[in-house]
Symmetry: C2
Subunit: 118 residues, 2 copies
Amino acid sequence: MPIPILKLHNYLLISIQTEIDDQTAIQFQEDLLDKIHKTGATGVVIDLTSVDIIDSFIAKVLGDVVSMSDLMGAKVVLTGIQPAVAMTLIELGIHLQNIPTALDLEQGLIKLHQELGV
Amino acid sequence: MPIPILKLHNYLLISIQTEIDDQTAIQFQEDLLDKIHKTGATGVVIDLTSVDIIDSFIAKVLGDVVSMSDLMGAKVVLTGIQPAVAMTLIELGIHLQNIPTALDLEQGLIKLHQELGV
């Protein structure tokens, strides 16, 4: 099952709540870019609260999707990164620099407002 | 994969974007009630924009979950019901009476605000 992408005003909201396999990750990347294109969304919040563990492939896809969304004009905020996920990302050398993060979905939306200056 | 449930302030947001099987529907029912209990959410928006077709079992689960959420104190708004889905629901005798509906997620949240008087 693809990961649902919710549109709320100018933003897209995504909550990843299960471990995802490589195929789902790739499909998510395509779906998100497609949805940004179709909706003209200016901001994206990807919530990882329920993700306990992340592998190098998924981490790379996540890093890529943030850069790709940025190129398309949509700012991405990552929320709810758990300790183990943060450790994995840094250990893998994926620093996700310049990517705003926040505690949860609410804080993520506030961050987006700030980043976009609206 | 279970259907993700997003928490935004006092509300839970769900977007069903693929055909779901019976098992997923039952699990969604359990997950939603559990999440209402845990978060104390007062409102729920279930968006069906991407659901093209619905069968009698899924329709019944959907009707049930609305009544159950109501019992637990969370008002449900259904959004994005497509023509074919509306036809199926009525033909199956599932009238979803007294259930507020709206066009999309944004309108659904506005409706919840109205219903809850906040």
